[in-house]
Amino acid sequence: MLSALLVMAGIAIALGAVLGYAAIKFRVEGNPLVDKIDAILPQTQCGQCGFPGCKPYATAIAAGEADINKCPPGGEEGIHKLAELLGMEFKPLGGNAVPKPKSVAFIDEATCIGCTLCIQACPVDAIAGAAKQMHTIIAAECTGCELCVAPCPVDCISMKVIEEKITNWKWKYPVYALNTVETTNVAGAALQKTNGRAPG
């Protein structure tokens, strides 16, 4: 009995010593994961995730304090990437947030009174202008975060969806008409649907 206790205690002490040493030797400083997560986030700095910017959100994800499905501008695509990086399951976008088409802010320059409130709100300094001067958006720098829309006292800022032009046009996913096969029953039609392709 005593020898059994001694043996177990001995093992425990030896392991404890090794682990204690390892804990000092392999101490991890900071969290290198934050930068990797931050690289995936779209950097709109819109705060829709409930954090004051992309980096704080990334920090919260890395610490396990926030879910990965809180970023509407990143869309499902972004959630997939985060899920892959973190080895988690994919989750649909949380809350009532719906991904919107990409847009940039536009200032109606006739209505603008030059109050600079939007300039202060812009997280990426994409609004040019000065007090009592008309403001304008630097479209190339605008991330479409919409943070400038609410502060405007005369509601002269609107979000414009980026139109498809020849310069940003993309090849579409090839979709071909299904072969018109006479389907006599519902099951056949359902099968065709799930296959996504027509039987020859």
């Binding site: 093992i11 991890v28 990086l85 080895g87 296959n195």
Partner: protein
């Protein structure tokens, strides 16, 4: 030397711990979605198992002996838990991404039945020290092999047009079953 080689071949192919002995299925299904993660898990398990087999042999042989044989399982669990903790620290330090990817499965190596099973099988088969180490390493290499193969298949399967009801784990289980069948083809390789 031949016997060591035989032990290796036998544990990697013929008596593959996952596919034939059906041990360690939890990480096999859980961490085989991505090839990198599977390789990492395989490496971590190999490290733990090789070290664990050696250590458990020493403990069993020199500390416990026939008198304290009833402590075998208990002491093995403690040793393995310690080694897994150590491995976890090393992985967290050296590869944070892998650490994150392996997630809960890394500490769960502790409860991986393959990891406890192999030292126990070592005791049962009365292996000596070197045999124990080779048996442990072989088992772990076999584990890594099927992990990598399976992860490769699953990565490909991501793009496949799998019917909705079979998506995810269901088709993975079917695939694992087929793989297991094919591994049974190795039986009789060593006479």
């Amino acid at each position: 030397m031949t016997e060591y080689l035989l032990i290796l071949i036998s544990t990697v192919f013929v008596n593959n711990i996952v596919m034939v002995k059906i041990l360690g299925l939890c990480p096999f299904m859980g961490v085989s979605k991505k090839l990198e993660a599977a390789i990492g898990m395989g490496a971590a398990t190999t490290f733990v198992l090789t070290l664990g087999s050696g250590a458990s042999y020493l403990i069993n042989h020199y500390l416990l002996g026939p008198d304290l044989a009833y402590l075998t399982t208990l002491s093995f669990i403690v040793v393995i838990a310690g080694i897994v903790q150590f491995t976890e620290m090393v992985v967290e330090k050296t590869s944070p991404a892998l650490y994150q990817t392996l997630g809960i499965y890394l500490p769960l190596i502790t409860t991986n039945c393959a990891v406890l099973g192999i030292p126990l099988l070592n005791v049962q088969a009365k292996h000596n020290f070197m045999e124990s180490i080779f048996f442990g390493m072989g088992g772990a290499l076999g584990f890594t092999l099927v992990m990598v193969l399976f992860a490769g298949i699953r990565e490909r399967m991501e793009g496949a047009d799998v019917p909705v009801i079979f998506k995810g784990s269901a088709i993975a289980m079917v695939t694992a079953g087929l793989m297991s069948l094919s591994f049974m083809g190795f039986s009789g390789l060593i006479k």
